[in-house]
């Protein structure tokens, strides 16, 4: 068991645990902070996958911006203490969801096991690196891909953000 493996199992366990806490938590602020933790774990997992740029972006954008927005909303609506009526749903709904959820995971894991392409080995990484761009996951490689092959989607995304911004302002503005 080398360092990467240790890191993976540690982070995976923590990610699952915090995600469960997010979903089951009673206090939205607590849920949110657990989600931040979960995103940190995911960023860590990205690092084990050599996707450093995305790891940084994950924290910068997700944890640093999007979730802060959530936190703002929770605080401004004063939902922090949790509402009494907003706990977990009734037993039948829960049971149905849990059952289908379990089935879903089972199916997915089953599929994944069947469709395993190849284990990631050092030799393979090297081959991939040589075949692909300078280093898969480096900022440079992603930048090149974004501005060469994905230029149109990239520009469209910027438009999407603008539209979202305008929409958010219009929606949240107090009506006069």
């Amino acid at each position: 068991m080398d360092g990467t493996q240790v890191a993976f199992y540690l982070l995976a366990g923590l990610a699952v645990a915090t995600s469960v806490l997010v979903v089951t938590g009673r206090n939205p602020v607590a849920s949110l902070l657990f989600l931040v933790l979960s995103f940190f774990c995911l960023a860590g997992l990205f690092v084990t996958l050599e996707a450093h740029f995305l790891a940084a972006i994950q924290i910068l954008v997700y944890a640093g911006a999007i979730l802060v927005l959530f936190l703002f909303v929770i605080m401004l609506l004063n939902l922090g203490q949790g509402e009494p009526g907003l706990g977990l749903p009734s037993v039948p709904v829960l049971a149905l969801s849990a059952l289908s959820g379990l089935a879903f995971v089972a199916l997915l894991v089953f599929t994944v096991r069947e469709a395993d392409i190849a284990p990631i080995t050092p030799a393979r990484i090297e081959a991939v690196d040589l075949a692909g761009q300078a280093t898969v996951g480096s900022t440079e490689a992603i930048g090149t891909a974004l501005f060469r092959d994905f230029l149109l989607p990239f520009e469209v995304t910027s438009l999407l953000l603008l539209v979202a911004m305008v929409g958010a302002v219009v929606l949240a503005k107090r009506e006069r």
Binding site: G3, V29, A30, L33, V36, H52, F53, A55, A56, I57, I59, L60, A63, G64, A65, V68, L71, F72, M75, G80, Q81, S138, T139
Partner: protein, 369 residues
């Protein structure tokens, strides 16, 4: 990573942590004495140990003791968990950011070349912004968990301010990133060893004067220092988000602010003032001299020490600048702050980026790319 490597890493991390935590009392001392001298006062000079007051340097120690032994008070209406968590969440990102700042050139230990930097991440500066963006959590939680309207207002202000100025901070550095073509701080510092026309050190401030100005202003805003300390404006908000904090929890906020200041200054130095580069003496030359003097191993240590001295001197200057500005400029009004951030800094940063890109394009074109 083998045992030695781990040990070296731990040693570096320990060194940096030691440095940062010890910088706090020093800065407190500098701030109080500096303020006093600027205002024609004397400043703390009373506390002494066995008669040695050390020009007031003992005062921070006394403060520490006081913070530790004061009553640890939690307001009854506060949300206890988050109230306790907030100062810690504020402190950790402040401490973590320094990890990517290089403070000297490589040092030779036996056969091993050791990077004088806690973590050499290939996303370097991006990591700084990522971690810095988390600082807002502590502030928001502190204000909200205190359940005090002044705290809450302070935290809302502070977070809006931090988010707003994060943009111009990031954008102002991007120009430099484009010039150097790397995100790694140590590469940037190394690149700044070059000279312009063989005379002027090719520091970031020479390449990106506007970027430098914007970055410095943004760092002031990010660290909530005057003239941007709206979040704690004593007169209106009774010090804002940490109104309800006392004793060691307050001290934690205090430490976080000063560490953030140190980190900010270290970033300014590394990005725009050549980091550990000794002006006019390239790293190779310096290493050559010291190696002649002491041999390659010990020589690299001496060189690193000199470079660390250079780094510290620049760092010290900027820390002093923080203090100096604080006792010179008055506080902004909130609308002025937002206007400056969004309508002046951001467009300027964008323009700077555009111009830099255009110039780089022309230079690349002229170089016959």
């Amino acid at each position: 990573m083998d045992g030695t490597g781990l040990a070296i890493s731990l040693a570096k991390a320990g060194f940096v942590a030691f440095l940062l935590l010890n910088a706090v009392p020093l800065l407190v001392w500098l701030e109080r004495r500096g303020a006093a001298f600027i205002q024609d006062r004397i400043g703390p000079n009373r506390t002494s140990i066995a008669g040695f007051a050390l020009a007031g340097l003992v005062q921070p120690l006394a403060d520490v003791v006081k913070f530790m032994f004061k009553e640890d008070f939690v307001p009854p209406s506060a949300n206890r968990t988050f109230y306790l968590l907030a100062p810690i969440i504020t402190l950790i990102p402040a401490l973590m950011t320094f990890a990517v700042v290089p403070f000297a050139d490589v040092v030779r230990i036996g056969e091993r070349l050791v990077q004088m930097q806690v973590a050499d991440l290939n996303v370097g500066i991006l990591y700084v912004f990522a971690i810095a963006s988390l600082g807002v959590y502590g502030v928001v939680l502190a204000g909200w968990a205190s359940n005090n309207k002044y705290s809450f207002l302070g935290s809302v202000r502070a977070s809006a301010q931090m988010i707003s100025y994060e943009l111009s901070m990031g954008l102002s550095v991007l120009g430099l990133v484009m010039v150097f073509g790397t995100l790694q701080l140590d590469d940037m510092v190394r690149a700044q060893g070059a000279r312009l026309f063989g005379v002027l050190p090719l520091w970031g401030i020479v390449l990106q004067p506007l970027g430098f100005l914007l970055f410095v202003i943004s760092v002031f805003a990010e660290t909530n220092r005057l003239p941007f300390d709206l979040a704690e404006s004593e007169a209106e908000l009774v010090v804002g988000y940490h109104t309800e904090y006392s004793s060691m929890k307050f001290a934690t906020f205090f430490m976080a602010e000063y560490i953030a200041m140190t980190t900010g200054a270290a970033l300014i130095v590394s990005l725009f003032l050549g980091g550990w580069q000794v002006p006019f003496v390239s790293s190779e030359t310096l290493n050559g001299w010291t190696a002649d003097l002491l041999g390659p191993g010990a020589g690299s240590w001496l060189a690193a020490l000199i470079q660390f001295g250079s780094f510290s001197a620049k760092l010290g200057f900027f820390l002093w600048l923080f203090i100096w500005v604080r006792w010179t400029l008055p506080r902004f009004r909130y609308d002025q702050l937002m206007r400056l951030g969004w309508k002046v800094m951001l467009p300027l940063a964008l323009a700077n980026l555009l111009v830099t890109a255009a110039v780089l394009l022309v230079i690349d074109g002229a170089a016959g790319r």
